[in-house]
């Protein structure tokens, strides 16, 4: 399990920091940033397997962030988290195989399952 590195991006500092701590309890190494630009910057410096991003953020939106990540780091799996419910706006269909969507609030186990699902899929490729 510890082979995965996760990057969490959400403008809610409390949410991401708590998630980092809880993932830590489950032997998953995670970093947290509160905006898209920091995420892009950090990803340029360090390697991450999975990006967990909020869809609606001030500055760089989740959607734009996904586009950039997909371009520069095509190997990174992406999970969207959103408080908006239902189908997220602007989910590109070609990302379907690597994208997981979680509706806030979500159970930590749901997040773990999503990560495993993506990684396993990725491994099969």
């Amino acid at each position: 399990m510890s082979q995965y590195r996760i990057l969490l991006v959400d403008d809610e500092q409390e949410l991401v920091s708590t998630l980092v701590e809880r993932l830590g309890f489950r032997d998953i190494e995670a970093e947290a940033v509160t905006n898209g630009h920091d995420a892009v910057e950090l990803m340029n410096k360090e390697h991450f397997d999975v990006l967990v991003a909020d869809l609606k953020m001030p500055g760089l939106s989740g959607q734009e962030l996904i586009r950039i990540v997909k371009e520069r780091h095509p190997a990174v799996k992406i999970i969207l988290i959103t408080g908006h419910g239902g189908t997220p706006e602007g989910k590109p269909p070609e990302f379907n195989d690597v994208l997981e969507v979680l509706l806030k609030p979500f159970d930590i186990n749901a997040l773990l399952e999503a990560i495993h699902r993506l990684m396993e899929k990725g491994d099969e490729d």
């Binding site: 408080g83 419910g85 239902g86 602007g90 806030k104 609030p105």
Partner: protein
């Protein structure tokens, strides 16, 4: 028609009018339409019939007058001739016979006998001397020796040479009149031949062929005393209760003598050289009844036309009002639908906003509770560990319940989902303008359309586009005053973008209001607006991948520009 209807229709938009008010309004339209079309359709008919009746009346009168005067003329000539004939006979006798011959009773008797057999009507014959004494007489009475010198008839005859008297009743109570002829002799003396003539002679003459029972013919003298019996106006020698008609050398027909209007049509003719006036009275006929009687085809045609016109007018007015009513109902229904959609969209937006805002803190509560659970779980047993874990689980369960609620709300707001289809913008705009055309007409607002001819079909949501334009056009209509105008333009901005511009010349929006018009609950309409119309419009436009801009100048007008993508990428991606 439309113009007239506009004049009587209330200028207010009737969307919220009560049903009773509506029914009254339709009745009013119906009444007006019936009245107007009846007038328009029947007036020419009535005028034509009236003219025809007038001409008929004129002709009828002329015809009647001609008829009377012709009969009168013929009759009066006959009467004149009959009297003249008797005068001539007497003149012949006095010139042929000497006074001594005439004084001889036997001779005078022969003469009377000859007169009776040749001319008829003579009753008696007498010779009056210059001193007025009747010297000889033959006839049924013993009038020899009677002195006539004081009588008007004697004086008149002496003066004029001949005389025809008024009618009088003789001893036998038969009407008679007297004729006198004067003979002057060489020595300056004179004598008169006097004859009594039975009025029956004239009576027999005066009748008119085809006389109606209401008609009457009789003779009066210059003092208006009946000289013959009248079936309507009295017996011989009774006064006719009429003024004497003015003298005329010709026969005349009139309905008035002086200022007196007669209850009948009167024809009269003075009979020359006699005191007689021949009179004919005809009861007045009702020209209208006569008109109806004589022209049955016309009357039937008129009646059928009138009945037909009334039936058609009633039927067509009823049909028209029915159609107006159903069109009104359709439009009201549509507007109510739009209103309803507006409301639902508003609730949806609010629900989505609330849900979204709550989901974020819920997520934090969830994670914090989760973290605490983790911490407690990974810690060694402590006295209240079980209780703490139960409490945390209860928190997490409550969060789940909350999120179930917020997700349901979000699901509800998503019922306003976009459904794309190819849309022809000009025809969609025409349709929307159609909803509002009547209100615009009431207020005499002109809507000018200017569509770029090569507008491509765009992919968008029809219902939501309708709502967008309806909202903005409704605002424009409210902003312009009577007689204002609204310009509606569609232009192709680029290969994949079109602009719809809605410009009015209304009151405009002040700069401070302009900043807020797209905000929810901002309204300048007081109690009438929810303040959500433009905010919904704004969010709908954005949902469809478009933008909306507004420019406005106070008292000059407002211009909304809605820019729409030809292909809505966002929308397409979702499908």
């Amino acid at each position: 028609m439309q113009l007239f209807l506009q004049m009587i229709l209330p200028r207010r938009f009737i969307q919220y009018e009560s049903r009773i008010e509506d029914i009254r309004r339709y009745r009013r339209i119906w009444r007006f339409s019936v009245l107007l079309t009846l007038i328009v359709a029947l007036l020419p008919l009535i005028i034509t019939a009236g003219v025809n009746h007038f001409m008929f009346r004129k002709n009828l009168r002329a015809e009647m007058n001609f008829d009377i005067s012709r009969n009168l003329f013929n009759l009066s000539r006959s009467l004149e001739f009959v009297v003249e004939e008797r005068l001539s006979a007497l003149r012949l006798i006095v010139s042929e016979k000497s006074p001594s011959q005439l004084q001889d009773m036997e001779n005078l008797g022969m003469t009377l006998k000859n007169l009776k057999s040749t001319f008829g009507g003579f009753v008696d014959l007498g010779l009056i001397q210059g001193d007025g004494i009747q010297a000889a007489y033959v006839g049924p009475y013993n009038l020899k020796g009677v002195n006539y010198s004081d009588q008007a008839s004697f004086k008149e005859a002496v003066l004029r040479g001949t005389y025809v008297s008024d009618v009088f009743l003789g001893h036998r109570q038969f009407p008679h009149f007297v004729i006198l002829v004067k003979k002057e002799m060489v020595n300056g003396d004179f004598y008169l031949l006097r004859a009594t003539v039975d009025m029956e002679l004239l009576n027999r003459l005066i009748f008119i062929p085809n006389m109606q029972s209401t008609d009457d013919i009789f003779i009066i003298n210059h003092d208006c005393i009946l000289q013959t019996e009248s079936s309507k106006h009295g017996k011989v020698l009774q006064d006719l209760d009429l003024p004497v008609p003015p003298y005329s050398p010709f026969s005349k027909v009139t309905e008035k003598i002086g200022d007196v209007t007669l209850p009948f049509v009167l024809g009269y003719s003075y009979i020359e050289n006699t005191p007689f006036i021949l009179m004919v009275t005809k009861s007045r006929v009702s020209p209208f009844m006569e008109w109806l009687r004589r022209q049955p085809e016309l009357v039937v045609f008129l009646l059928i036309s009138v009945v037909l016109i009334i039936a058609v007018v009633f039927w067509s007015s009823t049909e028209m009002v029915k159609q107006i009513r159903s069109a009104d109902q359709k439009r009201t229904q549509l507007l109510m639908n739009v209103e309803y959609t507006n409301k639902m969209a508003t609730i949806g937006r609010m629900a989505a906003g609330v849900a979204h805002e709550i989901n974020n803190p819920l997520a934090i509560i969830n994670e914090k509770a989760g973290l605490l659970t983790d911490l407690v779980s990974f810690t060694e047993d402590f006295p209240q560990k079980e209780k703490t874990l139960n409490a945390l689980e209860s928190i997490i369960n409550s969060v789940e319940r909350c999120s179930a609620v917020t997700h349901r709300l979000l699901g509800f707001s998503r019922k306003m989902e976009i459904q794309t289809q190819p849309i022809d913008l000009p025809s969609l705009l025409d349709e929307v303008v159609g909803f509002l055309a009547r209100e615009a007409e009431y207020q005499n607002i002109r809507i000018f359309k200017d569509y770029d001819p090569d507008i491509p079909q765009i992919e968008s949501d029809k219902g939501q586009l309708q709502q967008i334009f309806l909202n903005i056009l409704n605002n424009a209509l409210a902003a312009v005053s009577r007689g204002g105008k609204i310009n509606l333009m569609v232009e192709k901005l680029s290969k994949d973008r079109v602009n719809v511009i809605i410009r009015d010349n209304g009151v405009g929006i002040s700069p401070e209001n302009l900043q807020h018009i797209f905000e929810p609950f901002f309204s300048t309409k007081g109690d009438f607006g929810t303040g959500l119309g433009l905010s919904i419009t704004h969010s709908l436009v954005h949902k469809l991948g478009g933008t909306i801009d507004v420019k406005s100048e106070m008292e000059k007008g407002t211009e909304f520009t809605i820019s729409l993508p030809v292909k809505n990428e966002k929308v397409q991606d979702e499908t």
